[in-house]
Amino acid sequence: MLIQVIVSGLLISAIYALATTGFTLLYGVSGILNLAHGTTLAASGIATWYLMGTAQLNPLLAIALGTLTGVAIGLLTFVLIIRPLRTLMKLSVADEHVFMLVATLLWTIILQEALSYLFGDVPVSVPQLVPGIVEIFGVRTPISSVLVAGLSWCVIAALWFYVSKTRSGQTILAASINPKGLTLCGVNLNAVHIVVWAIYGGLAGLAGVLVAMILGVSPSGGLELTATAFSIVVLGGLGSVGGTLIAANLIGFIETGTAYLISPSVRTLPALIILIIVLYVRPQGLFGRR
């Protein structure tokens, strides 16, 4: 039983970690909390499900196109919502964050309703990539789930490598620390934002496909995914990628434990309550900076 919780917890946590790094990266660099995050995940998952099932595409191609859907939605979010909000309305800093939340929330509804119009508001799941089952410490686990968890950690490692070891990644880091200074160094901040949103979209897209494979997604379930991502990111400390990874595991294990020990229907409840307690005791999150 305990081993079962640990194995499933590890698998789910890996996906959570991947699904939230994009969210936290975006906040770290642009200071934007994208409430449409969960719906972006759902859209990519649903696109892959459609391409694989109805359009009968090669699974790998479908996954790649699903990830590209995420990139497209990420860029659309930036071009249609974020940039107009910043350029059209001369908002004060305090106003900007509430308007940003409201605008991305409206964008969520638009995406969600478009999805349910096109594909119907039903939960869908992407079929497993590889059939078969493997025993880990006596726990029967689909090979596909193990692959998904491995892939998640690989992508996170690649992201870490990109941000800390490449020049383009360092530019993004610089933009998160001091955007004005970066502009003075002759870097086009707008181009940096586009790159960040594209990376964000790619991460969210792939994560969406994997979430659809393990948990299933639905258009109206997007907001709940956002809430989970939000909880993880806040628990770990906004903008702290390391904190996010730890929090993803924490939430993943708590949810899995709850599902096994109490009931799957209240899976998300303890994590939400813990989140509120943490916020009251330590508002900057477990690993956040003030």
Partner: protein
């Protein structure tokens, strides 16, 4: 401008005239069905006005409007279905319950800065929803609690109850935001650091605003429960209902008190006309709200003002 009695009195006279003119609608041949749409729209208007007190004046995005409304609705419904009290006492208890729940939620949450407040309020709705489903033997789960009593059966009476509530809410909130309290609240919302430097206790003001918002939300929630005859999660405790309230307030006009009434009625009527579009109707409404947010930050009411006073 706020100290000028004229500028305070004129909108109030306008409110009285419009309310009285609206009150005769049932007697000039408006059908019961249309009346029921307007009744729901007016309840919605109360939610939107209460929400805008926090968003427009206190500068906080409360994503947990339905936490407050739901507390009012469920308190009233559970008391009534267990035969504890008469409907009006149930509604009063609902409003009181919402204030208590709001204070419990907001007192710690308001110490949080930036997006954290919004997050906590959003999470509060999700927790409440899960708890209702978890204790479904008492709360009826997703189906909801049916209330055995009614306050009024006639469509016209119900319409007048909703209208009266909306008018009283608008009156109280308008006087409030034009009072010294309201001006300080607005100052806090626009520049909390400077307000703090001037010596105002930010948490105290925001908490009071939150409780007032909770009171009207809970009151309307309780009354609407008796109007609908049931309290269910999809109507009262739902993040997407919260989104509708936000849309209504923004479309109507942020920081205007009366604007959200227009917004809520617009939403009620628009969703009726857009019904043939199916799920696209919500998309259309969200799109309209987004366009209004970008190009008309003052909302519909802002448009009226713009037309009246070209600058």
């Amino acid at each position: 401008m706020a100290g000028n009695t004229f500028s305070i009195r004129r909108p109030l006279i306008g409110l009285a005239i419009v309310s009285l003119a609206t009150a005769v609608l049932p007697y000039v041949g408006l059908q019961e069905y249309s009346l029921s749409i307007l009744t729901l729209g007016l309840f919605f208007a109360v939610y939107a006005m209460s929400w805008d007190l926090l968003f427009g004046y206190a500068g906080e995005a409360n994503f947990g409007a339905t936490f407050l409304i739901g507390t009012g609705a469920y308190t009233a419904a559970l008391m009534s279905s267990n035969g504890v009290a008469t409907p009006l006492i149930c509604v009063a208890a609902g409003a009181a319950g919402a204030v208590v729940a709001g204070a419990v939620l907001a007192f710690p949450a308001l110490r949080l800065r930036g997006p954290y407040f919004g997050l906590v309020t959003l999470v509060a709705v999700l927790i409440m929803r899960q708890l209702i489903i978890l204790f479904s033997d008492k709360t009826g789960g997703e189906i909801g609690v049916a209330v055995p009593d009614v306050i009024a059966i006639e469509a016209a009476t119900n319409f007048h109850i909703a209208l009266g509530l909306a008018a009283v809410t608008a009156l109280v909130l308008y006087l409030l935001v034009k009072s010294p309290f309201g001006l300080i609240l607005e100052a806090i919302g626009q520049d909390s650091v400077n307000a703090q430097v001037l010596g105002f206790n930010i948490v105290k003001y925001k908490l009071t605003a939150f409780c007032i918002s909770a009171f009207f939300s809970g009151l309307a929630g309780g009354l609407m429960t008796f109007y609908l005859g049931t309290a269910s999660t999809n109507v009262f405790v739902d993040a997407s209902v919260g989104v509708q309230i936000i849309i209504a307030a923004i479309v109507g006009g942020r920081r205007t008190v009366f604007g959200p009434i227009l917004g809520a009625l617009f939403m009620a009527i628009a969703s009726e006309y857009l019904r043939p579009l199916g799920s696209l109707s919500e998309l259309a409404v969200a799109l309209i709200a987004l366009i209004v947010l970008f190009f008309l930050p003052g909302g519909l009411l802002g448009l009226v003002r713009l037309a009246r006073r070209p600058s």
